[in-house]
Symmetry: C2
């Protein structure tokens, strides 16, 4: 079955014969444009228009119906009114056609009736054995084989094939991005608009085209996502193939996410979780279409960045400052140059220039091209410099000279060289790009692109070191009781999983509580009411802390029982009091899109105000745990403030990794876990409170 | 004297005669290019080349020396080697010339010797009575009167005059920005590069050109700033004239600021203070050159935004979502439409479109132009919508139709209408701009520009309501003792200024401390060691809190005295303990650039980690104080968290305003004041600790 699906997708992407169901003789209409495109752009296979109204269109025999097709074509374009789509799909299935793209709109995007029709379409495609792209899409282009199964106006211009595969959920925005890719001369090999994704999804199509060896990098535009695991699998595949995947997803903010949900009808995926998970698996996120293009341009050159050090050569001190600012913001470094590098720079730098990083060569380099070439070369020889950016402006009178200077500088080095050319002559930009040198129109954008390149290569090194295979962790099939887990039971489970948590004892009398306190060596203890329906114990007066005498314990026990609202009280949990000078919150959620997600944040009274939390998809190792801690905005708290000592980040990272592994094993039953707070002191982290909820995975 | 200076600046900007000292017969050289520009661009005044080497240049009589000039020209361009600049300036002064621009480099930017030469130049200009722009600059352009006193390559292209005045400290970056302004067709009236600013400064020149009624908006590029008060005065002038001032300053981050200081040699102004103060006075800050251009484009159209509500019309749901996201981030709202507006939209919207905000009209509008026109019109009729943005893409086949659609939509409305056109045909962009409609190439950029427009008009309303005149607050001339002020004395001063602070009593014996405690009604008190050289009392064990018995007070008194390191202990301060559920830090600093700066931040243990602080230049009123609180990242703390009640923001704002007024009065002596913490409880804020330092203002 899966094998058949794979074959059908191959026929879809690489058809030797195409039918256009509902073809129009007016080649400017939506149902005429694909015919025009296929004929004009040199599709070498057979094209079969289908429409009872015509005997012939544009010199091709037109067939009255799908049944009448002389062959079972590899792929069909369906461009008929919405109500005729389902019969067309059935007819195609009967005729032996295994793949189709549906342009027609009038489905989910049209409300309740449309959604019903879309369900019918899904069922019809399944039973007819036809894989479907769309409906409500612009179609797709395979520019290598001249398959222009689209009515997108992108096809109106030049559409030479190239190394970029672009898959988009949006038609209009996607067309705009495709046009921008063309403007940059990056070369689009595939352009696919997935529309309503009744069958073929963004991930499935991207996974298919990324395997094409002619494709070097993948770009995607997303509005919603149903299956996070598929996206993770795609990310892994891209890592294994060494091909970068760049994604733009709208709906970053809460209001945008609402608008996105109402626009796409898709499940609103939490953007902070989406963002964390895709970065975890090495996807580069572009915040908008301009940044996507900049990142694609940076990645379309083949040189590697071995680190985060940027060397800047500029003819304007101010531009240098601006780029240094941005580099700091995006996590790059602008290293001090070695003494050796400085010495070399001083040897040829004009006295009014600056032989530091940024290197300010002033406008003098137009008269002395060697200045720029030598500066770039010397910079890139410095072991701390991984990428060079050269900044210039205007210079319409010197295009030939400048292009040649940059070509020489590029040829003389092997590390990545970017040019930032403000108010550049269009011709110069074109020529530099043709020479394989990325060109940006603004300093900050060049720096952001350099950060993306550096991140991509850091990801490759990371996956090389840490592996990117899914660990084989079987899901626990243990039969459990759903709902809030008793504290003692939850504590036992976590201790078994190696998670440090304070011991808990369930006392049903004050005497039992006192005995347990004695067994702990008579240190002070906390008492907490235990009842399955009381999850916020503090709010009902269900917690007493710092108890260190039998009298206090006894009184607290009685008070807690008395305070408890009419709930199923099973007793009082007794736990030793712990100390720590850093307070964390750690948790696990079952995310409907991405599955088990582990969270860590800075705890305490400000946690709700600051929401300084970081997410990762489980399972992951301790190195990933360390990276989580490094992403906390208040991470300096971990290094000690106001005289308190630094805490051991490794022990926290290990806790997070162990928790992620356990959570992943428990994925069929664990719905929610809160360890709040986790106190971190000299002997590492320890959870002092725990709420564990089991529930069936209803996905 | 000042009047003479004003006259000289007028001659500088609007010369009827220009000498070029050091003119070259090679019109492609730095010292030849201004001649070429003046002649070719139609300068109608007289031009006098000065160079002993030539008798004539480009058909003009060339004079052997400044002395030989037949008239005292209005302005001289000095383009001679550095060492000849000072003699040239002296000669110009003797010849009666009152203004000049110095292209020559070889001054401060060249190190110690150059700096000495620059001091000589400053002195020479003063004694010769010549106002000077530069040295080390590209010169300037007054495009209205065709004064092309520059060798900037910007002058090589078309340079039609227009409503934008652009003054830049950087030559190369400034030229790039000028070229970008030209690319947008915004029209540059003045282009001035201030170079090393030995005499005429950025602020002085901008203040002069902003008065030109042909100038509608001002743009500046800054790398450093010496005199903040001058910039504030310029900002006020722009507000009074109703002309927006847009500034880009590099050195936002610490590393960038370091690079800027080393590049310009200018005083490194704290960026966070710079940013706060210019916004306080209504300046718009552009983070980089691209944003500057976008803001200029938005402001170059004359329509007003009466509020922060943006209405979005788009042919792509995804683009709408992206713009909604960005609007939230930059402080705009994307309001829900009124029922009436929705009804009107429903009446003509295709069923697959969305009649909400964003309005999704889909690609259908190309077939039905009325869709877009009507949508924009209906949106802008909604009282909550202040600015409309229409998003489209590509459409090379429909330029005429689309331009005409937008022109009609624009004509049918009176609120600002922006077009965002991704991958737009260049011709369409040009025609829309010619029709007075701002056009942007990316949705996020259109939203950012809309935010700038809305902010500008909000500023105008704010200054209209609150006034923008400098309050007449005389500086206190009281003679004071410099250094750390005794707590009792500092407390008295603050109480007199109306600043709530706990009473403080200096006890020199335990008995005195106990008596004071009794006089307070025997509530608990704090004891703090008092010694002028102990500023961090906690760190030396100099603080005891929550003392409520005579024994405790007595013991604490002795302990504090014993703990004090060999310091000039004058006693122990006794203060009543206070409560509050929000902890703030409030302070005053004398900033070397901007003078008295008031700061407020969230206090507590995290203050060093979060640096959640906001600055304002003193003095200001309570409304500005409220705006400060609204800018705190953790402002929701003020609204109450975890069950604690909200605090009264107005009483905090009043404290800040009162403090700002007092600090401004004390500007000649107050160097530093820390109120940390200020506790805010049910009865408003109260400072419970105070460090006040007086020092001479050495600026």
């Amino acid at each position: 079955m899966l094998e058949n699906r794979g074959k059908a997708i191959q026929k879809f992407l690489y058809p030797k014969s195409i039918a256009v169901v509902g073809a129009s003789a007016d080649l400017s209409k939506i149902n005429g444009r694909p015919l025009k495109n296929l004929l004009e752009k040199g599709f070498s296979g057979e094209v079969y228009p289908v429409n009872p109204k015509y005997a012939e269109i544009a010199g091709l025999v037109c067939y009255p119906s799908v049944q009448a097709l002389p062959v079972a074509v590899d792929m069909a374009i369906i461009a008929v009114p919405a109500k005729e789509v389902v019969p067309s799909v059935r007819a195609l299935g009967e005729r032996g056609v295994r793949s189709a793209v549906v342009f027609s709109s009038g489905f989910r995007e049209m409300g309740v009736n449309g959604a019903a029709l879309e369900r019918d379409l899904k069922a019809a495609a399944e039973s007819a054995g036809v894989v479907l792209c769309g409906p409500n899409c612009l179609g797709f282009i395979n520019a290598f084989e001249n398959v222009y199964a689209t009515f997108s106006q992108y096809a109106d211009g030049e559409t030479g094939a190239g190394p970029v595969a672009f898959v988009t959920q949006s038609g209009a925005f996607g067309t705009a991005i495709a046009a921008l890719i063309r403007e940059r001369g990056l070369g689009l090999g595939y352009f696919i608009n997935t529309g309503n994704q009744v069958d073929l999804s963004f991930v499935e199509l991207m996974s298919a085209v990324i395997e094409d060896p002619r494709i070097k990098l993948a770009a995607g535009y997303l509005e919603g996502l149903e299956d996070g695991d598929q996206l993770v699998a795609l990310s892994r595949k891209c890592q294994q193939l060494g091909k970068p995947l760049v994604l733009t997803k709208v709906g970053r903010m809460s209001s945008g996410a609402r608008a996105a949900a109402s626009h796409t009808g898709a499940l609103a995926v939490s953007d902070s979780i989406f963002d964390a998970v895709i970065r975890q698996y090495g996807v580069l996120r572009a915040r908008n279409e301009e940044q996507m293009l900049d990142i694609l341009e940076a990645l379309s050159q083949p040189r590697c960045a071995s680190g985060l050090g940027v060397g800047i050569v500029t003819q304007s001190g101010g531009a240098g400052v601006m780029m240094v600012d941005r580099a700091e913001e995006v996590g790059l470094s602008v290293p001090e140059l070695s003494e050796d590098t400085k010495k070399k720079l001083f040897s040829f730098m004009p006295s009014f220039g600056a032989a530091a990083n940024p290197v300010d060569i002033t406008g003098q380099f137009v008269a002395e091209p060697g200045l720029l070439i030598d500066s770039v070369e010397v910079l890139l020889e410095d072991p701390k410099i991984d990428i060079a950016i050269a900044w210039i402006q205007l210079m319409h009178a010197h295009i030939d000279k400048l292009v040649s200077i940059f070509e020489q500088a590029h040829a003389a080095t092997s590390k990545p060289l970017f040019v930032c050319w403000v108010a550049a002559p269009a011709d110069a930009v074109k020529r530099l790009r043709a020479a394989g040198i990325p060109v940006f129109g603004a300093g900050e954008r060049a720096v952001e692109a350099a950060a993306a390149l550096a991140t991509h290569h850091a990801n490759i090194r990371r996956f090389h070191e840490e592996g990117c295979a899914t660990p084989e962790v079987a899901a626990s099939l243990e039969s459990v009781q759903y709902g809030v887990q008793p504290t003692v039971e939850a504590t036992r489970r976590l201790l078994e999983a190696g998670i440090p948590i304070v011991p808990a004892f369930l006392a049903v009398s004050a005497q039992e509580a006192i005995s347990f306190w004695r067994s702990l060596g008579a240190h002070s203890v906390a008492l907490k009411i235990e009842a399955p329906d009381i999850t916020h114990k503090t709010e009902v007066g269900g917690v007493a802390l710092n108890l260190s005498t039998p009298e206090d314990i006894s009184q607290a026990f009685d008070r807690l029982i008395a305070n408890a609202p009419s709930a199923r009280v099973v007793g009082v949990v007794v736990q030793p009091m712990m100390r720590g000078h850093v307070e964390l919150v750690v948790g696990v959620r079952r995310d409907p899109v991405f599955g088990m997600i582990v969270m860590v944040g800075i705890g305490g009274v400000l946690v709700e105000v600051l929401r300084d939390v970081v997410f990762r998809k489980a399972p992951f190792g301790p190195k990933e745990g360390l990276r989580m801690l490094n992403e906390l905005r208040m991470r300096t708290l971990l290094d000690g403030v106001r005289g308190s000592p630094a805490v051991d980040r490794h022990s926290i990272a290990q806790l997070l990794a162990d928790l992620s592994k356990w959570a992943y094993e428990m994925r069929l039953v664990l719905n929610e876990l809160d360890l709040n707070p986790v106190l971190v002191g000299d002997s590492g982290p320890i959870a002092v409170d725990c709420l564990m909820v089991f529930a069936e995975d209803d996905q």
